[in-house]
Amino acid sequence: MSSIPTSKNKRKKTTSNARVVAAARGDRDAKRKNVIGVIVVVVIAAAIFGGIFYQRQQATAAATAIIPAVSVAGADQYPAVLDPATATVLVGKPAAPITIDAYEDFLCPVCGQFEAANAPAIDKQLQAGTIKVRYHMLNLLDDRSTPSGYSTMAANTALAVATAAPARFADYHASLFGKQPEENGPGWTQAQLSNLAARLNVSGPAFDGVVNANTYGAKIQANLTAAEANPALQQQGGFGTPTVLANGAQVNWQDSNWLNALLAAH
């Protein structure tokens, strides 16, 4: 009997000692929990502000980039004529027997590849007077820039160049395809597009008028809608850019020999 209270006392004592230890530990735990909470908040905040900072930096870098001006070797050998009614530009000697219709979007990477692969050969044939090229500049990828609308803005600015200084159109067209902005990026701003024009010696009221009024914006959109509905322009899976026609019939521009084959056939 006597041993029970002793044991009970002992246990009580142990328990109360443990409680004191646990309480002290609890205090320390609470402090450490606060430290952990602060660490979490700091890390999350650093991530968010890091993201914002990174985005700002990218945006600034993109906005201050310069589009290099490209000079097309033979561009002074053949005319470029704007057709305001259709918002297209016909480049080449009027007597050239083959008319190529090129449907392009300045944001479209595949169009850029097409231009990179074919522009020198096309320039050569334009000089020789065997072909002329009608450029249909569309806004198929208008929603692939952030903010939306780069395709329309670039096409309208190219048409502004064709309005004010047709002789510089080939250079402007080649420059925009020479350094395309990335899809889903911000695209070039109007200031950057106008700056490129200025470095190609294109400026003045005629140019500014088209740019400021977005003169061809609606026509560019209408041209896209018409192209998408035109059976002659459909490729596998619908209308896409680039689409290339020679005297009204589609050519397989993915065949690297398409231009030679075309010339041989005429």
């Binding site: 646990a22 320390r28 909470g37 968010i48 993201g51 914002i52 985005q55 939306s148 889903n184």
Partner: protein, 167 residues
């Protein structure tokens, strides 16, 4: 009723923690390396104003990586689990509203994203998957105790262990 041992529950929690960490690290890294695709996928939800799309798309990967790293090392597991749950709920709400509005997009949860053809959406699977991740977060929010974590290292023996010693 036989209760699973503390250690077994801690092991389950550890799996949940590392699993969720892996999810955040993978999706954050994929988003970070292809920022333009991330922009496209944020845009496709048509929830964020155009001028803020790029900002949101640049913050998300860093936020996800931060959540992933905190979980990986087990720092503030309960708080991070709650934050993860909130982010996942926002994602699920985003996917659900796209479904309800009849948008045809890919969630872009692990890269990709953007518009897809009408028959190519996977809304139920995407929501189910995110709900699975949400359950991991829920477990950790309710029972943040796990093995090998900075939390455990900082707070010493777990409370359960303290109580066992005391009794």
């Amino acid at each position: 009723m036989a209760r699973p041992s503390t250690r077994a529950l801690d092991a389950v929690g550890t799996l949940a923690r590392l699993g969720l960490a892996g999810v955040w690290l993978a999706s954050g890294a994929i988003k970070l390396v292809d920022p333009h695709a991330t922009v496209a996928s944020v845009k496709a939800y048509q929830l964020v104003p155009d001028h803020l799309v790029s900002l949101v798309a640049n913050v998300l990967p860093f936020l996800e990586l931060a959540l992933g790293l905190l979980l990986l090392f087990g720092v503030g597991v309960r708080l991070v689990a709650v934050l993860s749950g909130i982010v996942l709920l926002v994602y699920i709400a985003g996917i659900a509203q796209s479904w309800a509005r009849g948008l045809t997009i890919d969630c872009g949860c692990f890269g990709g994203g953007g518009q897809v053809a009408a028959g190519q959406t996977h809304y139920p699977q995407e929501i189910l998957r995110d709900t699975g991740f949400l359950l991991l977060a829920l477990w950790l929010a309710l029972r943040p105790s796990t093995l090998v974590s900075v939390d455990g290292w900082l707070t010493g023996p777990t409370h359960a262990a303290t109580l066992e010693n005391a009794s």
